[in-house]
Symmetry: D2
Subunit: 289 residues, 4 copies
């Protein structure tokens, strides 16, 4: 297929490379030009408009502001050569997805929301879990693209924002797992048990899953640098969760605790460390560090 790819952060680069590898013709664009160097086999274009055309255009932009700025304020939907399908893979607000859907409909561009679960290594290995929602025929059309980037696509119906809600729900559960490990670790240490021993037991038995094993290892070793995903970006996700929860009338006391503890962490200088550094808050509050 003839596609454009907008947004070449660590995730985007790996995903675009996999599309090239799968034989697709890929035009890539990034706001700051230096990033696009490394994608062999892709054609670099100078403007977003040149990327936003063809059979499908994929956006993997940093956040709500970037997506809004490029697509809406950039006037891409009014362009002469619009893509048949826009696959929006960024983690953005549910409200933004709701706002974008009708704008795309008016422009005659199918809008598919398809955020992903997985860190950069998973993206590199085409092992992402992709959460897709939007017009069924449009998703089917881009399914080969999704298959080139992920291990599996999970469909969540025809309302695009549903996919964003699922993504945020999953992220909320990830952060909750980190916090639970953090509190349990402080509790154990307070009783003379090393957190490494505790987490070794729990993440190899009851909680033997990728999230617990991955973050558990970082917490056990207090290894928060270099960051895989910064705590500050994680705080942004919880902000999106809380906003969407309020929109849907859902009290989320765990998310509220996460918010406060993430602020605490940032105010103690952990914003640019790995997200797992959230676990240090409970230890500090206990006077253990």
């Amino acid at each position: 297929m003839d596609i454009g790819f907008l947004g070449l952060g660590r995730m985007g680069q790996a995903m675009a490379a996999n599309l090239v590898k799968a034989g697709h013709t890929v035009r890539v664009w990034n706001r700051s030009p230096e990033a696009a160097n490394g994608i062999e086999g892709a054609t670099r274009v100078a403007t977003a408009a040149e990327a936003f055309r063809g059979d499908a255009a994929i956006t993997m932009l940093a956040d709500d502001a970037a997506l809004r700025s490029v697509i809406v304020e950039g006037g891409l939907l009014d362009g002469a050569e619009r893509p048949a399908v826009h696959v929006s893979m960024s983690t953005v607000a549910v409200a933004l997805a709701r706002e974008l859907a009708p704008i795309h409909e008016r422009a005659g561009v199918a809008y598919v929301a398809a955020p992903v679960f997985g860190r950069p290594e998973a993206a590199a290995n085409a092992a992402l879990n992709i959460v897709a929602a939007g017009d069924d025929a449009a998703i089917t059309k881009v399914q080969p693209l999704l298959d080139a980037m992920g291990a599996k696509t999970w469909r969540f119906g025809s309302e695009p924002s549903a996919a964003n809600a699922v993504k945020l729900a999953g992220n909320f559960m990830i952060v909750s797992a980190i916090e639970a490990m953090g509190e349990a670790s402080a509790f154990a240490e307070g009783h003379g048990v090393s957190k490494a021993a505790l987490l070794d037991l729990l993440t190899n038995t009851l909680f033997a899953s990728p999230v617990y094993k991955g973050y558990g290892a970082l917490i056990a070793e207090d290894r928060y640098e270099p960051p895989g995903f910064t705590l500050r970006l994680g705080a942004k996700d919880i902000r999106l969760v809380l906003a969407a929860a309020e929109g849907a009338g859902v009290p989320m006391p765990f998310a509220s605790v996460l918010r406060d503890n993430l602020i605490d962490a940032i105010s103690h200088g952990d914003g640019e460390r790995d997200f797992a550094a959230l676990a240090t808050v409970a230890a500090r509050r206990s006077g253990q560090s």
Copy 2:
């Protein structure tokens, strides 16, 4: 080995049966006599004192009060024929473990704390994860017994109460996982996504672990009866967690949320339903049910 087993609830019965199966001579005792009927090959004794002797005595009693009443107030440690080792497998307060250790020492009985992770089916299949702490030689001595009951024994040093702290930390993480799934489910439903679809995705990918799969299935189907483990008993565990956290100077805001939500659930009639019913609190607070 010649052993006594005190406490024949659902867990205790399965564990004692596995000890018999492994070839040990087992005297069993239960406060209310009807329970002990079903353990073929074990000798039923009429008094706790008759069980509390031999190479080792294992207690799997309901709670702090039961353990204290049988062992301390019952005067078993003053008995003529005390066991060489007392393996205390109940989930009890860290403070109680701290209190019992020196009493046993004075009585010349080795005290091993060995609480377990696993529901009754795991007990029946000798698949428990056993958390043991206490005198190393004593643990080694009873290791064949632990092996008969569990898949693996995780040792946590020589201070018995450390094992109880680990058990409580693990239980806290389990309840946190239920709450996180409950909030995420209400969030998803509030955005038109079925919680069953959400949990299917998450418990088969990022959270593909026993705890999430087990409780996730119950939540997805709103299947809270019959209870595997009642919510009211779960609330007791969180009470133990909070008490031990305070003792160690550890603020645990997640545990505090759990406490409030468990009270909410009990006040709405869910005390005798499965622990997973905690997940209904977020839905009810959102006006979804």
Copy 3:
């Protein structure tokens, strides 16, 4: 003085009337025209621009969006006849105040933030407490206006946004007081003590202050209609508090609880009832109602 007054809700009408009463020449404007009828002695003008001129212009608009739309997007600061001072009395975000200050400076209009504490009756009686920040000379210039509307002006320095922070801090404390009374009431009722009796004692002794007496009386009688100030508007204030807290790196667990409980209340149909209805959440969660 020759002044304009923009925004004639219940608060604005009472405040503008007091300015007329004090002898000032007042041009009034409201987006929806019907509201301005009742202010005798004031000149009604058809456009915001006609009001936004003279010695000073006062805005008492509904929220951030209204203030931004009228002043910034409406282009008032580019108008030919700008006022010497803009006194912004709405409760708005700290971030908006930060954004507006330099815009005004460039336009050569002094920007004074002067939000108020007090309900409509206090506004009618010129009994408001006014929190003012901005250029000292500018505040001094408009002091006669403030004196006509309030009992006292409390100055908080030259950075306008400081006044908005103080206003939000005060509102947070008010909502915290309501929640504390709500939880204490459910606690008392759960022990067979009527909340009316409890609040009668406490609001006449330790907590004998306007906020506790006022909201306490509503809670004691479950009198939530008609609303003096709706719960939905209160929820907006807490949203502003949380956003500003995050901006300043301040975890506020009480504010987080308030957020969740306000959502709970709105999801149970209390959005348009009096703010004091927040107190019903604790009772409902206890199964008392």
Copy 4:
């Protein structure tokens, strides 16, 4: 009247002195003998039994353990010369009050629960607010004693434990007020506003009540030593609140936040400082101190 007074801490000494001043015959007793020196006109007795007799005996003991140890375990209710009425003025658990009432009934001693609001200065000035519950005739009989110690007696029916519930509800509201001021102060400081200025405004207007003025002044000046009432004792009260809330099925998320923050404060060395030091937690978590 001929009375005994047990428990001569700072509060008890002042209260007993006022009883002497009012013309009553007072026998005083304290576990550690040195305390009773200073009460002129009272007769010091060597045993609790000598104090626990006469027309009425008043207990103002430190906590649940002290009250239980002296009255129940000390066998005072089996004594030959029991008092007609036992006025129990300590702040104790609701559950303890429930347990003591029937024991007294069997012993033929009327049991009146009469905890007080007020710090030592209020006790010295006979300005306490007394919360009384129990048999109406018994309260009426001891009313002259209560009048000698307090400004007003608030009656809460015939079930003694109701008075303890009211006392705990009030204490909960006091601690909530401290926390609200603490969070608001950190919020203000984070926006460049001094907490002293903020609290000056709020505690002289909306929150012009004894609790806010008293604690607000301490917070404004960071004056936590010497303690009027230690934070550790305050933490004990919140523990009683939470236990009684659970007993009555009432979720209290504010009380849960208080619990965690009090633990945080104690873990940072503030246990023996004034209760108002709770307000430092929000500042520390914000990285302000």
